[in-house]
């Protein structure tokens, strides 16, 4: 079997790691929490970093009127389906199609991932800004607008007494590696074509 084909197989399979490992993690640090509060985001679940963390995040956030983190969101159905479909697609491409299709798969995955990130951003924005009008504590920015509590999409940010960290986890790295591998497969495939 050609090297490019092997690489494309690998590329298609790597995103399945998202079913085993978290995609993203949000961690909240504060002086009162010597063990920080943390939430792992899987493609099909929100999970506690330590037992009851989500419950305790909700308890903190209700003071500023943030909604409870839902048990389930529509994305928990859409994302796994998307991963399974694109993996099957990738495998079919690896089996049947030429290296050009590897590039199309790469472009598809990059677009879908970008869409996924944008969706995550929208959810975060809503979570941080769509506040209960009866919120116990109402904070405003220096310009008088209501303060939002949106965690960062990527990076670290101070929100009142908390320092919020938001970073990808192993699942996301495996997805990225899969996408990158498909591009490598394409390039290797192109070189193989020249040689023959």
């Amino acid at each position: 079997m050609k090297k490019s084909k092997l690489l494309m197989f690998l590329a298609a399979l790597l995103p399945l790691g998202l079913f085993l490992f978290p995609l993203w993690n949000i961690t909240l640090e504060a002086p009162q929490y010597p063990t920080p509060l943390g939430m792992h985001i899987y493609i099909n679940d929100f999970a506690d970093a330590n037992p009851h963390d989500i419950k305790n995040i909700n308890l903190m956030n209700h003071y500023v009127g943030m909604k409870y983190i839902p048990e389930a969101i529509p994305e928990f159905k859409i994302f796994p389906a998307g991963i399974i479909i694109t993996t099957i697609l990738g495998l079919i491409i690896a089996f049947k199609f030429s290296h050009k299709w590897y590039l199309y798969w790469f472009i598809l995955m990059v677009s879908l991932s970008a869409a996924g990130l944008y969706d995550f951003y929208l959810w975060e924005y809503d979570y941080g800004h769509n506040l209960d009008p009866r919120a116990i504590m109402k904070f405003t920015n220096p310009d008088g607008t209501p303060m939002g509590f949106q965690p960062p999409l990527f990076g670290t940010k101070n929100i009142l007494n908390f320092t919020a960290h938001s970073y990808p986890r192993l699942g996301a790295y495996l997805l990225a590696l899969g996408i990158a591998t498909s591009l490598v497969a394409y390039i290797v495939g192109k070189k193989e074509l020249k040689r023959t």
Partner: protein, 653 residues
């Protein structure tokens, strides 16, 4: 006249000059010295101490938890006395813990904590402690630092030679200080001699869950059994009890119990007696005692009255009990880490007597006896003594050991700790105590493996050591560094109640097991609710049960109507929190009991009997959160014949 004034001025100036000079140099010297000592007890903010010290509360009835070397107090664990702070003995769940054959006894005199052992080393699972007054043994669980079991000891009075554990925590041992008629009977006190008995109780401890069970009692002659310690290593299987009042006096004991030149240390081969009992030996005696057990699942205690106890006549078990003559009303009875020496501290003497276990076995084998007492053989004094420490002190009480073969003995009358060498019996060092030391404690000092870095002296008299607080002043402990040849006084720290003994252990063994909160899903309290949706109020006649929850920062429900004067209202409050250190409290105006303080995942109950019509508030007593002050509610109390329906709500829902 002028000359005289001049002369006096000169004299005063010189005096000032000299005293200033002296003063300065003294201060600077002490400063350097104290800085060095201060470093040894300084535990930086946020850092943890190296050792836990469990220090008994004496007449407070409790057990306090300190850190060493800082001497900081972390917790007072309620054991035998009601504690309004923690609702111990006030809430419905823990009232049964203080039940006895005499009814509810809300106080005791807690004496000798001892930590559970495995293979003679501290395992840090439980602390046992005795109630001296109404004889009881309590077990404290070191995952929750709460008292989870109390067993009453029948046929006993002044439960003092207790609560010491054997090498594998097979038994926690409780000996009676006062002999009494066994079984109790109406008889003239003057007929004490020969008729009063001393019961030595062996309470088995389940190796898995720690459940205690009074396995057997040895009915000994009517002496006072003062203190005890287990054999270890080669002497494992034996238990040693010091005795006084072998005169069997019942009045003016200070004189009448001090007549014999020697009393005894009773050596009990409990393994022999255990085998005897396991083979059907002993007699069942009718009695009545309470066994109280607290469950961390139901968060509730139950009290069971036991009606029978197995008693053993020591003269019917061959080779099981011997008496070792020991001078001058011995108090402390301490066993060296290798199990070879049993140190008797004749409290009216200057010397210590170290009995040799090897010599004892030899004397028994060769029948080197000097008569008997009520059929129990007395071993020849010369054939059992391994050595005598000529201490130079007065009034020895207790001895603990380090890991280097040294022993440390407290002297009450001469107010000092004396360090001496096992085997050579030479005195190495002595340091004064302020004042009149009773017990001392070296972490692990009553085990095969002492940690031997510090000794804590627990003093009986405080006088001027701290800022005065009126006629009653705090009790005082003192910490000495014993890592060098010479002991060094590091720290004074005040203690709760009157410490009689303490047990210390390396913090690393215990702290990793400390529970952070109770799992709500494991809560099996019959009146618990797991969510606000399940909260309710029920009525059965005039008995009302409120199933309530707490979470930051509200009660559910917080408005209740339809309660009537003359009702008996039970609050059952479940703390729904599942985070470390987020307790909530609740108190109701006019309730004839304490607040309750509920740990996350726990349910506690208290009773309120409203006597006046009106709308009465309740509130959270623990500053739980930023909105703690808002954590309150109201109960409407209507007249007895009112038609107001029972209703409850939170935020109008």
């Amino acid at each position: 006249m002028k000359t005289l004034i001049k002369f006096m001025t000169l004299a005063i100036s010189i005096g000032l000059f000299f005293s200033c000079g002296n003063g300065t140099s003294n201060t600077s010297n002490q400063g350097a010295l104290s800085a060095n000592v201060a470093e040894k007890v300084y535990v930086a903010p946020g850092e943890h101490d190296e050792f836990y010290a469990f220090i008994s509360g004496g007449f407070s009835g409790q057990l306090s938890v300190y850190g060493l070397p800082s001497g900081r107090l972390f917790k007072v664990i309620p054991v035998f006395s009601q504690d309004a702070e923690k609702a111990w003995g006030y809430n419905e769940e823990t009232k049964p813990m203080l039940n006895t054959s005499h009814g509810f006894v809300p106080w005791d005199d807690s004496h000798h904590p001892d930590i559970s052992q495995t293979n003679g080393e501290l395992d840090g699972r439980w602390v046992f402690i005795n109630g001296n007054n109404t004889p009881r043994i309590a077990k404290i669980d070191l995952t929750t630092f709460e008292t989870t079991e109390i067993i009453e000891v029948p046929n006993s009075a002044g439960n003092h030679s207790s609560s010491f554990v054997t090498e594998n925590t097979e038994y926690v041992v409780a000996g009676t200080r006062f002999s009494v008629p066994v079984p109790q009977v109406d008889m003239p006190i003057s007929e004490y001699k020969g008729k009063f008995k001393g019961a030595l109780s062996f309470i088995s401890v389940d190796p898995e869950d720690g459940r205690m069970d009074l396995k057997f009692q040895i009915i000994m002659p009517g002496f006072n059994y003062d203190l005890s310690h287990p054999g270890r290593g080669k002497s494992h299987g034996w238990m040693f009890f010091s005795t006084y009042n072998t005169e069997e006096a019942s009045t003016l004991l200070e004189v009448n119990a001090s007549q014999n030149d020697k009393d005894f240390i009773a050596a009990v081969n409990w393994k022999k007696i255990e085998a005897y009992v396991n083979n059907g030996g002993g007699k069942k005696m009718a009695t009545n005692y309470a066994h109280n057990v607290y469950s961390d699942e139901t968060h509730t205690a139950t009290s069971t009255m036991k009606k029978e106890v197995l008693v053993v006549d020591p003269t019917e078990v061959p080779d099981a009990v011997y008496l070792l003559p020991t001078p001058k009303s011995p108090h402390g009875c301490d066993v060296s880490p290798d199990g070879e020496y049993i140190i008797g501290s004749g409290k009216l003497s200057a010397d210590l007597t170290a009995h040799s276990f090897t010599k004892m076995l030899d004397a028994i084998e060769n029948k080197k006896f000097d008569g008997d007492a009520y059929g129990i053989p007395i071993i020849n004094y010369e054939d059992v003594v391994g050595g005598t420490v000529k201490s130079g002190g007065l009034g020895p009480l207790h001895t603990e050991f380090d890991a280097e073969g040294n022993a440390y003995t407290t002297f009450f009358i001469s107010s000092e700790v004396v360090k001496w060498k096992l085997g050579t019996w030479e005195v190495i060092d002595r340091k004064p105590c302020y004042y009149s030391v009773g017990h001392l404690m070296i972490p692990g000092g009553n085990s095969r493996k002492p940690f031997g870095k510090y000794v804590v002296a627990m003093n009986k008299i405080t006088k001027d050591r701290y800022l005065p607080t009126g006629p009653e002043v705090t009790q005082s402990a003192q910490l000495y560094d014993i890592s060098g040849d010479k002991m060094e006084l590091l720290l004074d720290f005040p203690t709760v109640g009157e410490p009689h003994y303490a047990a210390g252990i390396a913090a690393d063994i215990v702290k990793k097991n400390s529970k952070k909160f109770f799992k709500l899903t494991d809560n099996k309290h019959p009146y618990s609710v797991k969510s606000e949706a399940e909260t309710k109020v029920t009525r059965n006649g005039n008995e009302v049960h409120i199933y309530m929850t707490t979470i930051r920062s509200h009660f559910a429900p917080d408005n209740i109507e339809g309660i009537k004067v003359g009702d008996k209202v039970y609050f059952h409050v479940t703390n729904l929190e599942q985070d470390y250190d987020v307790p909530h409290g609740i108190s109701m105006i006019g309730a004839n009991t304490s607040e309750v303080l509920i740990m996350p995942g726990q349910t506690e109950s208290f009773v309120w009997e409203p006597k006046q019509v009106g709308v009465w508030p309740f509130y959270c007593t623990d500053f739980c959160s930023a909105l703690h002050q808002e954590m309150q509610g109201y109960i409407r109390v209507s007249p007895r014949n009112s038609n107001v329906q029972l209703s409850w709500s939170l935020d109008g829902e």
